[in-house]
């Protein structure tokens, strides 16, 4: 892109969209240990639903709500057979689901434009008379307000007794179920919420870039999101967003770097190889990510130790 500022703003917008994916994966993997390797599939579904609906002249709000609804239902249904089993089965099911989804979209030209994709997707907010740059800023405002909402929803979820159960499931499913938690139900719920958020991210993506095709949703997308969570720090929502920024930044920078040094490398190959090496390095040397999980009581503070209570008669223990 000719204008460096535009390049930067574009990167910021992308980081925001991927930030939503990243915190959704963080809810699934970081807090509940659900290995969802189908992020690209739900992202794609959300984008295509928005694109198709936009072609039918529906407004963005309807499209995105529909995207949320459909992705969450499909997420719940497809995860059902795998959720009772161990995490590797879920991983296999989801990664293969992504391939099947792409297959359908590539083959059903009447529905989704086949390999050519869909173009002319209306953006969510159209204010007449804005310059290209101003429109980008409006987009960023939209994307980031949704990102912030998603962030607060996730924070709220994990800081309740509900979130404590999710962590219990992550630490030890057997303990969760012997202590009365219906693990399966919680997993489905989390998976549904995560899928819905991914669908919403896809919806934002479609209206942002205006043209989509199946090649934008290769499994590399899933991998990039994983990279964000693992680098940023699983079970830390700020970490997940930080990860999104870093990975997006690294990808853009590697591209610039290549242009600058005139390296005889394809930029996509360079990016993917670089991301792969980085992921493996992080898993080796800092598996807990940059921002560690904070292990503390999720409400009330450690300082407020309930000292006087200790002095009281142990009424409950002593009752006979």
């Amino acid at each position: 892109m000719a204008d460096p500022l535009m390049y930067l703003l574009d990167a910021v917008a992308y980081a925001g969209i991927f930030g939503i994916l990243s915190i959704s994966l963080n809810l699934e993997y970081g807090y509940t240990n659900l290995a969802n390797f189908g992020k690209a599939a739900f992202f794609m579904m959300g984008a295509y639903i928005t694109a198709i609906m936009s072609g039918l002249k529906y407004p963005f709000i309807v499209n995105s709500l529909l995207a949320i609804l459909i992705t969450s239902v499909i997420g719940a249904l497809t995860s059902l057979p795998a959720l009772r089993l161990k995490e590797d089965f879920l991983a296999i099911t989801m990664i293969t689901l992504g391939e099947v989804m792409k297959l359908i979209i590539k083959n059903e030209e009447w529905l989704a434009g086949g390999v050519w994709g869909i173009s002319g997707i209306a953006s969510a907010i159209t204010i007449p008379g804005l310059t290209f740059r101003e429109r980008l800023i409006v987009q960023i405002a939209l994307i980031y307000s949704i990102l912030i909402v998603c962030y607060f929803i996730c924070e709220l979820i994990v800081k309740t007794p509900y979130g404590r159960i999710l962590k219990t499931i992550r630490e030890d499913e057997i303990v969760a179920s012997t202590y009365g938690k219906n693990v399966f139900k919680y997993k489905i719920q989390v998976f549904t919420v995560g899928s819905a958020m991914s669908g919403l991210a896809g919806s934002l993506f479609a209206q942002y870039i205006g043209t989509i095709n199946p090649y934008m949703f290769e499994p590399t997308v899933t991998f990039v999101v994983w990279m964000m969570v693992i680098l940023g720090g699983p079970a830390n929502n700020l970490g997940a967003i930080l990860g999104a920024f870093m990975v997006e930044g690294i990808q853009r920078a590697s591209r610039l770097f290549k242009d600058y040094l005139n390296l005889p490398l394809d930029p996509v190959n360079l990016q993917v190889m670089f991301t792969a090496i980085l992921v493996i390095t992080v898993i080796f040397y800092r598996p807990q990510g940059l921002l560690k999980e904070k292990i503390k009581p999720y409400e009330g503070s450690p300082h407020k130790i309930i000292a006087p209570k200790f002095m009281e008669v142990k009424s409950w223990i002593r009752r006979s």
């Binding site: 057979p81 590797d88 089965f89 293969t96 099947v100 994983w226 190889m273 992921v279």
Partner: protein
């Protein structure tokens, strides 16, 4: 009029190809207890190496295939030694192992794309067609059939008659017990990973020669390899054998049905997905459960 004998022949040949592609995945999954998503790229890697030696360097075909298969084995062994073994000894979680394997897969694939370019390549061999009664086939397909059957037989001997093979089966069954009874887990794993990658590379050469060579060659059969692994039962060679032919048959019959329904034949890989999901619902331990999962 559908030539059912032809459908059956194709099924068997696809079954052979899938068997070669999957054996390594299933055995390494059973032994190391995680699905190696980079396995698909061993398939691609073998094919590109064969292309390098055969087409670009003009070597003799047997020599070229031999070299390509050995290099695949080398890559398989190397990924165990340099990546998965150290990760396991650091106590990496299942999810971390899976993510690293995906990373390794991308690394291999994009390395190949960088080196050979992303375009479609062809081995430029025109196979003459042979007719045996109502069945039409090519020398390549016959070669696949013969090679796969010979390899399957050799694997059977290896796993049942040799000390190493028995060690592999014992380890897949119960790694702790196997280690306690003096089996060298590293040696067994290294051998299995190398062997599995070699066979995957072999299948890649066949797959590429049959049609064309693309960077997604292996990834395109990822679904099939996982469906076979789960259907057969993780870590079971005989499970792979049976499941490969079940999948080969379902796909080829499926294609007939798809054309009859007026749908694209591309949907054949969705059949593998259906088998995979059905396995998870109905018989998650697979047809021939080996690897025992403990609470």
């Amino acid at each position: 009029m559908i030539n059912w004998l032809q459908v059956l022949t194709n099924s068997i040949i696809w079954g052979c190809m899938y068997m070669l592609a999957t054996v390594g995945l299933s055995l390494s999954y059973g032994l190391s207890r995680f699905p190696n998503f980079a396995h698909a790229e061993y398939i691609t890697f073998g094919a590109y190496m064969a292309f390098l030696f055969l087409v670009m360097l003009n070597l003799d075909i047997y020599l070229a295939v031999g070299l390509a298969v050995s290099l695949s084995a080398f890559i398989g062994g190397l990924s165990y030694l340099l990546l998965f073994k150290p990760l396991k000894s650091r106590g990496a979680s299942l999810v971390h192992l899976m993510v690293s394997s995906i990373g390794l897969g991308f690394l291999i694939r994009h390395f190949l794309m960088q080196t050979f370019g992303g375009g479609i390549k062809s081995f430029r061999i025109v196979w003459p067609t042979i007719s045996i009664g109502p069945i039409v086939t090519t020398p390549l397909l016959l070669a696949i059939l013969i090679v796969a059957l010979v390899i399957a037989f050799m694997l059977h001997i290896l796993l049942t008659k040799t000390k190493l093979g028995k060690a592999i089966r014992a380890t897949a069954d119960n790694p702790e017990l196997a280690a306690a009874s003096g089996i060298d887990l590293n040696k067994v794993s290294l051998f299995t990973w190398s062997l599995g990658a070699a066979l995957a590379g072999f299948s890649g050469i066949f797959l590429a020669m049959r049609s064309s060579l693309v960077p997604l060659l292996g990834w395109k059969v990822l679904l099939q390899t996982f469906a076979i692994t789960l259907l057969g039962g993780i870590g079971s060679f005989y499970g792979v054998l049976i499941a490969s032919f079940i999948l080969g048959l379902s796909e080829n019959v499926g294609v007939v049905i798809l054309t009859w329904l007026g749908l694209s034949a591309d949907y054949r890989s969705a059949i593998a997905f259906i088998i995979l999901v059905a396995t998870l619902i109905l018989k998650p331990e697979g047809l021939m459960a080996v690897a025992r999962r403990r609470v």
